[in-house]
Assembly symmetry: C2
Homo-oligomer: 421 residues x 2
Amino acid sequence: MSPPSITNVIITPVAFADPPLLNAVGVHEPFALRSIIEVETSDGVTGLSESYGDARHVERLDRVGVALRGLDVFSTTRMLEVTAVTLGGAVGADGHGLTGQISAAGTVLRTFSAFEVAALDVQGKLLGRPVCDLLGGAVRDRVPFSAYLFYKWGSHPGAAPDRYGEVLSVEAIVEQARAMLSTYGFGAIKLKGGVLSPGEEIDAVLALRDAFPLIPLRLDPNTAWSVATSIDVARRLEGGLEYLEDPTPGLVGMAEVAREAPMPLATNMCVVGFEDLAPAVSLGSAAVILSDHHYWGGLRKVCDLAAVCDTFDLGLSMHSNSHLGISLAAMTHVAAAVPNLTYALDTHWPWKDEDVIEAGALVFRDGAVAVPTAPGLGVELDRDALARLHERYRTCGLTERNDTRYRQSIDPAYDGHLPRW
Amino acid sequence: MSPPSITNVIITPVAFADPPLLNAVGVHEPFALRSIIEVETSDGVTGLSESYGDARHVERLDRVGVALRGLDVFSTTRMLEVTAVTLGGAVGADGHGLTGQISAAGTVLRTFSAFEVAALDVQGKLLGRPVCDLLGGAVRDRVPFSAYLFYKWGSHPGAAPDRYGEVLSVEAIVEQARAMLSTYGFGAIKLKGGVLSPGEEIDAVLALRDAFPLIPLRLDPNTAWSVATSIDVARRLEGGLEYLEDPTPGLVGMAEVAREAPMPLATNMCVVGFEDLAPAVSLGSAAVILSDHHYWGGLRKVCDLAAVCDTFDLGLSMHSNSHLGISLAAMTHVAAAVPNLTYALDTHWPWKDEDVIEAGALVFRDGAVAVPTAPGLGVELDRDALARLHERYRTCGLTERNDTRYRQSIDPAYDGHLPRW
């Protein structure tokens, strides 16, 4: 029997409506961009995946997709080699607009990831087994996620008010949490910070703690603070946070904060690749690493990261960008299979109204998603929705994410440089 | 479709003839003990594995085998959980007689490993794919092994001379190397040291270097030396060794040697579990870790170890005990799938004349074994041979390995304590 090889790859960029969520470098644009990857094989089975949607990333996906034709869909290691050779050391943007340029190795891994997930989807479908079974099997049947609170404007400029309303006060953020927990049942809360002053965000965390005394809280200012400010905020929030995420930039600055902070520090900004782990361990920069298969290099690389974290007594959680259902399925499968992924995962899921997958495969109940048991990722494309969101991509005018530029287009005095406080 | 579950487990201890190979703690007994594991599933597919054969380990395998019945053969993580619960913190011996007692966690992992490999064999057979494809696919089609030289007696006491002859001199060890390279084509040489005085073993390495100037050499005295002796030997062998393996006991002693030695240090004695890696990295105890799926906890755990090594800039090689063909197949599959396993693997293969597998699946050519492409591990049991070696186990009188006791039975004055020099 000849091995199932890749015969064709289809990359479909899509855009979906995104509310004006505020963060440390600006505000979410009216549309979030993603790419949908279909990997067709000689066995007639097609694998799905979802990745970043900025134009340069899509171009890389297209280029690598052609180069992968003919490869055995079980040899993901060979697929990685071909990805690296095809990209030839090209350096790309980070795809989520927060950490700037990424290394050549990082560019390879975030391109490869899209195909690795699709290959695992094919493998699972061929075998009749869910993807988590290709990673050692599920250690949990349900994967808990965290509520992801955002300060936000009431509408994109010129648009009608969105259904989420303006959230720029302590009272409004508590109300947002209440609504999100009521709808999804989340058992953990993350507040995207770095937007209001540190004092206002401290007040928000304290109000959330008062409102939800049994729910673990996290605060993520995306390196908006200096080391001194970070230490001050950390001390004032003693006992109030499960972890403090990326208060300040860089491995060294984070280590300075970590030495003084009473709670663990988490990061998805100073540790974004395997090459960052040894210095982070040596310096003590963070106690919790936020994984993300989209840029760590796929689901097996997240398992690798989990092994490193377990070995070096680091906690493991999961980062999220704005995403659709295929990514949620992939996140759920790998989180099901990794024993030491013990924190509730981040997800932007509540902030969107549309998707490219058939509804029903992924349902939040009590803040968790049941691990799909169907073969592969367990999700199917809704072709009409895919066509609609692709048409949106074609016409929306966005080709990359740039929260700072968008905010400056509304508020020319806005300065996106960090740390701000 | 209900998942393929484990219906029965058969553990068959076997004994095969082993020459009187000398090491730092004594001499190999006349028979090496192994266990052959068959995992039967509800799909009618049986998976194979091979593990240690000492009686206490076999008892643990029997006990865990019963407890695994009914489990999904794809959920190896659940199988690990059940193994841990079943053994309930029991502490065992190391199974190869060199490092003494092992931890409860180590006992769990070396018991689980036997079943993980068999489960992967089942998975591969169900899928029609070689085991390496369940680990990301082969990055190499052939896996190189190393010649494994031993000082040895000419025969076990009271027995006829064996076909390998006495090897206790520089000339004889060079002759052994020449014969082994001629037969197998190995491109690397490891000398088991700690047997003769350090000066004699230095002379042996220098003679091997003169005889085979292009072949990388390794020396493994199994912690027979003090720190001072280790540093002295290392300096005198500058430029002569690919790595020096376990010259002295303990993470701290190894680090002291590593600071002064001109070549990398390797270990399979001070780093034998994930809990040893953080202190080893912190202290700088070794530059190369020798993996071994039998005690690291299976093939996926070796992949985990490889990720840690890659992340922390450690080299990765592979350790061997006396073993049969099922273990060789498992070693070959995982080595094929791990990109950073760049050293030729250890194997005792040339020192045995019999096996439990059908001949032909694993052939050495130019020092390497072609990765099997048949489903699963790619080896099949020879039932007659299995019955013969099991009968040998029943009648040989050995129930555990103890090289020191055996040597003392011949030479009552022998003192097995280390370090000796």
